[in-house]
């Protein structure tokens, strides 16, 4: 593996990013197949966001508690979690809603993660509420309360969701004079809200302009480009970590399989795919050969197929468990 002439990033890191991007794509495409084979009731996810989400996942200081990143994610974040080290088997379990699903025990949709040991707060189906809860972990980590804290809060969501009130709330709350919050704001802008084109709903030129109005640094980037994504995330994280103030990234991404299975989950040929573009660069730079990349793809397709087959053998949740965990550590009917 030789040093790339086209990139500032280390070739080993580039190869790692590529590996995770392919793995994330194979995972999502396997889950789409599971939906189409009636092995899950619903699919929605993030194919098309890998070039941004893998670099994000790899740069997160994961762990539990205030010294680590708190993550308030939306439901297109599988590549972030894979970048952090999530086992794809667990995502497949949630897709199949088995009792072994570690994120919800078969209770929630796929890509609705919850990993307390990594500060991944519950992913919700409600749009943009994660921007409101991000205020709270940001408050807990703010400079006026914890001057030496290095952990930061990261929140992401889509472009359509920025119309919700919580988006405005988070901008207001994170920029109160003297009480600024260490939050890295991310909007992955795929230009769609289910079937509604962003161009028909946004009067502002860039969503990032709304953040600029509150005095925070804000950038709009090409989120289908790995290097540009890596650099923006690195700079944003450094700013938030050191300044203890918010930073905003609007990342233009693709939506390769539509909003969800509700719209068919079929490949949208008009959408730009970040993976072949990245692979062409890697090949040209001599980081990976076409053959090596084809083998990686094959390996992960086999992995996901085999894991999905295993998931099918795992048990469904016990009907008697429906009241469990209404309250913390509570089991069974309590009233």
């Amino acid at each position: 593996m030789k040093k790339s002439s086209l990139t500032k990033l280390d070739p080993k890191l580039l190869a790692q990013i590529h590996d995770l991007m392919v793995r994330a794509r194979a995972l999502e495409e396997r889950m789409i197949r599971m939906y189409k084979q009636n092995e899950g009731y619903f699919w929605l996810g993030g194919p098309g966001e890998e070039a941004f989400n893998v670099p994000l996942g790899l740069q997160i200081n994961k762990g539990q508690g205030l010294e680590h990143e708190f993550l308030h994610l939306h439901y297109r974040s599988s590549a972030i979690l894979l970048g952090m080290g999530m086992e794809p088997m667990d995502a497949l379990r949630q897709m199949k809603n088995t009792a072994t699903d570690p994120f919800s025990g078969g209770r929630n949709f796929v890509n609705h993660y919850s990993i307390r040991k990594w500060n991944v707060v519950p992913v919700t189906s409600t749009i943009e509420t994660q921007y409101a809860t991000a205020i709270g972990t940001g408050l807990a980590q703010r400079k006026s309360r914890r001057p030496d804290c290095k952990g930061i809060t990261i929140v992401n969501g889509g472009d359509a969701g920025t119309a919700e009130g919580e988006f405005a709330s988070s901008l207001v709350w994170s920029t109160r004079p003297g009480e600024e919050l260490p939050i890295l704001f991310i909007v992955t802008h795929n230009a769609w809200g289910i079937s509604t084109a962003a161009a028909t709903q946004h009067g502002e030129k860039h969503i990032a302009d709304r953040a600029r109005a509150f005095g925070m640094p804000a950038v709009t980037i090409n989120g289908t480009d790995v290097e540009e994504s890596w650099a923006a995330i690195e700079e944003g994280m450094k700013y938030v970590r050191e300044e203890r103030k918010p930073y905003f990234i609007e990342s233009k991404v693709s939506r390769l399989y539509g909003h969800s299975s509700a719209s068919g989950a079929n490949r949208a040929e008009s959408e730009k795919d970040p993976l072949p573009e990245f692979e062409a660069k890697l090949e040209k730079a001599g980081v990976l050969t076409r053959k090596e990349m084809d083998e990686i793809r094959e390996r992960y397709e086999v992995e996901m197929r085999e894991k999905a087959a295993k998931v099918k053998t795992e048990p469904m949740p016990d009907p008697s468990s429906i009241y469990d965990f209404t309250y913390y550590k509570q089991r069974g009917k309590y009233f």
Binding site: H72, V121, P122, T129, Y131, T137, G138, G165, S169, Y327
Partner: protein, 355 residues
């Protein structure tokens, strides 16, 4: 002889000094006002939030996720309705993650009528609050319970909703809060001088807190405030003292009425309720929420389901009228919300009924 606002303030002080409560916030909760009902004056960790209820609940959830036990206030429950999906998320976080996350946070909000508050300062919230699984819902009717229930809420590992009956916030208690000055006129003045912020410039004022002690009213435990054998009246909050007065009045007529202060609306003390209803065979549920899809209707349903053959009369509900709001004029508020004569009248009806 603390009033309920002072009791709440003392409980919060106990919480920030002893229970790890680090953030008490909401609109006008911090200095200089210390809450529109003065219930958060003089506390160390209070601060004023933006005027944004969804932000307040979201912030509280995030703080709870971070392990920083928050107490957040929605200034009047009339303004909590735009936070419903966040309240649902707080309530389902533990369940939806199969026990991975818990959300130890307390939300306080004044509820009910009694201050001539018109359409948007008279709402009740008990029907909606009890319809959001995952929360524990409490509502005191006297200062000692206000103190003990709030300490229980702050200790709980789950989201707790503390409904403050605004009509009772200035009502003094006749049971001592552990550590408060003697229950005398002199003791009352002493407490006032210690913890009530002065009028005018408060910038240099600091409270002198009494040495308070741990005291809990367990969540889920009702209290029998009048013992009787012929009729059970179940209530909470503003209407509870009225029910006790009704029982006293009926006792003079030779009728024996039991009154139960539910105190915790969810999960409620069915054992206490069912035991009393079995004993008396007659029950009235009284609250000031609007009467359609009222929490009392659930209690009637359960009474019918489980105690039907032990009833001597139809179980009844006395609640607020199903109107779009509580009208401002005294005559309108009195006609809309349950008052003492309404309780006495319905009690006489139920006592006279023969199954």
């Amino acid at each position: 002889m603390a009033n309920m606002a002072q009791a709440i303030r003392m409980a919060l002080h106990y919480g920030e000094e002893n229970l790890g409560v680090q953030e008490i916030f909401g609109e006008d909760v911090g200095p200089p006002l210390g809450g529109v009902f003065t219930a958060t004056q003089g506390l160390r960790t209070t601060w004023n939030s933006p005027l944004d209820e969804r932000g307040i609940i979201g912030a509280a959830m995030g703080l709870a996720f971070a392990g920083v036990r928050p107490v957040a206030e929605i200034q009047f429950c009339d303004y909590i309705y735009n936070t419903i999906d966040l309240l649902k998320l707080a309530g389902n976080a533990c369940w939806s993650t199969n026990g991975d996350w818990n959300v130890p946070m307390t939300v306080m909000t004044p509820v009910g009528s009694g201050i001539r508050g018109s359409l948007y300062h008279s709402h009740s919230f008990d029907a909606t609050a009890t319809h959001i699984p995952g929360w524990k819902i409490v509502m005191p009717s006297n200062p000692l319970d206000a103190y003990g229930l709030l300490i229980s809420c702050m200790k709980d590992e789950n989201p707790t909703m503390y409904l403050k009956p605004k009509a009772l916030l200035r009502v003094k208690g006749d049971e001592a809060i552990p550590g408060e000055p003697p229950l005398t006129a002199e003791g009352e003045k002493q407490l006032r001088d210690m913890i009530d912020a002065p009028l005018g410039d408060r910038t240099k004022w600091k409270p002198k807190w009494p040495k308070l002690a741990d005291f809990i009213v367990p969540i889920g435990k009702a209290k029998t405030v009048r013992t009787g054998s012929e009729l059970t009246i179940v209530s909470y909050g503003r209407t509870l003292p009225l029910c006790a007065m009704a029982a006293d009045q009926l006792l003079k007529e030779g009728r024996s009425v039991e009154v139960i202060d539910l105190r915790t609306l969810w999960p409620y003390d069915w054992e206490a309720l069912s035991e009393s209803i079995r004993k008396t065979g007659r029950v009235i549920f009284v609250n000031e929420e609007t009467e359609v899809t009222n929490f009392g209707e659930h209690l009637i349903r359960r009474t019918v389901d489980e105690l039907f053959y032990e009833l001597e009369a139809r179980p009844r509900l006395l609640a607020g009228k199903f109107t779009p709001g509580v009208g401002l004029a005294d005559t309108l508020e009195m006609a809309t919300q349950p008052q003492l004569p309404n309780i006495v009248e319905m009690a006489r009806e139920v006592l006279a009924e023969r199954a």
